[in-house]
Symmetry: C2
Subunit: 329 residues, 2 copies
DNA sequence: GTGAAAGCGCTAACAT
DNA sequence: ATGTTAGCGCTTTCAC
């Protein structure tokens, strides 16, 4: 920056000012500085900038897994919105572990981030303490319910389960199952399951079981789960899945076993993934809008940073969920 | 750090040393320092550390899109390997634009990253110049071919296309098409397509067309592409797709139109995604191993940073590809 | 093994 | 509108 200043015949602080607020320097000086920057191939050092300004232009985002299409979508839209405002995204995976999350938060805070974004509302006590002590804006996303650390964007998972149950009941289904994966760690999926069971009870079902696959939520897990479900409940006529991948696996398995969908078994998913509108039969599902969550999270962060921290109920944004009815039910 | 030093009754530089090389301080001092850190809830400031050390513990990773399952997988494994060594991942999306990539590289370099990871070998001249001038280790991934900027991990896309063509020919198919999406921007997909056509020519096919969908590679695009292909080539008997999502969409469309797969049309995908083993019929595909690419990229970066920059042919890692034969062909 | 001293490259009062 | 000045919190010689 000193070299640029020398070449442009101004002081370093004018260069710094120009870089941050170009309108604040005279057009003549600005032009000289721009020329000098180009001539020298100057690239500002944001590390030094972050140190001097005591806040780096970085937002740390921690998700359970970036392989999960839900979070990939959210991270993608969150990032686009943030990059447009000059922020970078530092990414972390907790792999659904609270211990790992705490370690990630600790490192994240070492970067003096402008904000921290976490997934869900279940965190270790240490994570909460670290974040509260730091004074950094925090957004918890993909879940609404208990009191958030700072701000939250998401929706109620029990309500998603309830919507699923009501839909299956409305289609006359009474022998029900909820198929989920990794629910010992994925608390949000577990909440969809319990919301499902609770609501289903109102409809006096013959049966309503939760069936869990300990591994990841994949298409293959869906096939396994459908088989397990039929073993336990031979006259099964309606299933809700914690995820569209599982629903697709169940659908394929029905096809393989010659079970008519939706005639014999109605299948309902969650996520409205890429293939859900195209598969045969097309999949009834519940759409959470990971995209909207990302955009709203970015909005909360930006207004929080720009000195207008949202207050009261504006700190919590309910993005809701939408039932997308298709052929599988 | 001064507070910690005061409480532990040592100098700040001893605390700094302890943090970086715990073995270099006496056990007694180490214990005091550890106690002080815990008591004060001290979190080191990596921004200051990065400035003082002139290299931050950050690796910048730029992919076209994190929504793409291929890159999600690679970023995930790359990150796990890097985090284990104390590095953070700064993520960027180029959206398949060279201009955008250049802007991302420019900001990335502002963070004085320990390394930069790019996707593919096609970059703007400015990107190459910036990176070469910076002296930072660079890994280009997911493609092998022309001379890399610094290091590369990936495989040959024309060879993938050739493998696909050979396989279809070996199944007696002679009326062929390659279905791809966004190939005007996704150069790697375009290379698979041209590799396919070139190899197919050796087998004297009746026809061999490339059909492109300008939008994203989705299941729906696959359905559209199959319809377009049949319109152009009514007696089509073999297709290769640039991606398993497209193959799945084609498969669904065949099902909808009552076309037997593989009897009437053989379908071959690329990627071996989650659903490919489970769909009906299961999908023959070519597996590139995004996971391996991520791990190898991490290995190159780490050895490059730790003073043993791989030289000569070790700077280029071919992860190859595997044909996974299933029922759809 | 430990400490003193000199920055790393920039920002942000403040003064002009 | 521009310049002067004093750090931001740490790392890294170098001497002890």
């Amino acid at each position: 920056m000193m070299d640029v200043a020398k070449l442009a015949q101004v002081s370093p602080s004018t260069v710094s000012l120009y870089l941050r607020k170009p309108a604040a320097v005279s057009p003549a000086a600005g032009q000289e500085i721009a020329r000098a920057i180009a001539a020298l191939g100057y690239v500002p050092n944001l590390v030094a900038g972050g140190l001097a300004a005591a806040s780096s232009k970085v937002v740390s985002v921690i998700v359970p897994s970036i392989r999960n299409a839900f979070f990939a979508e959210t991270v993608s839209s969150l990032q686009s919105a943030l990059v447009a405002e000059g922020f970078q995204v530092l990414l972390g995976h907790s792999e659904y572990g609270e211990e790992q999350e705490e370690a990630l938060v600790r490192t994240a805070l070492s970067w003096a981030p402008a904000a921290v974004v976490l997934t869900g509302l279940s965190h270790s006590a240490g994570t909460r303490k670290l974040l509260q002590a730091s004074g950094v804006p925090v957004v918890e996303m993909w879940e609404l319910g208990a009191d958030p650390i700072d701000m939250a964007v998401g929706f109620s998972h029990p309500q998603v389960g309830a919507t699923a149950a009501r839909h299956l009941l409305s289609k006359g289904r009474r022998t029900l199952a909820f198929l989920g994966a990794r629910m010992q760690e994925d608390h949000r999926a577990a909440k969809r399951a319990s919301g499902f069971v609770e609501e289903a009870r109102q409809g006096e079902p013959r049966t309503c079981e939760i069936i869990n696959h300990p591994g990841a939520a994949t298409v293959e897990a869906g096939s396994l789960l459908l088989n397990r479900a039929l073993q336990q409940i031979p006259d099964l006529d309606g299933i809700a899945c914690s995820n569209d991948l599982i629903a697709l696996g169940a659908l394929f398995e029905c096809q393989r076993r010659g079970i008519a969908v939706p005639e014999s078994i109605a299948i309902l998913g969650f996520g409205d993934l890429d293939f859900s509108a195209s598969c045969i039969p097309s999949l009834t599902t519940i759409r959470p809008s990971g995209d909207l969550i990302g955009r709203e999270a970015a909005r909360l962060i930006l207004s929080s940073i720009h000195g207008e921290p949202p207050d009261g109920s504006a700190r919590i944004v309910d993005t809701g969920h939408v039932l997308v009815e298709r052929r599988s039910t």
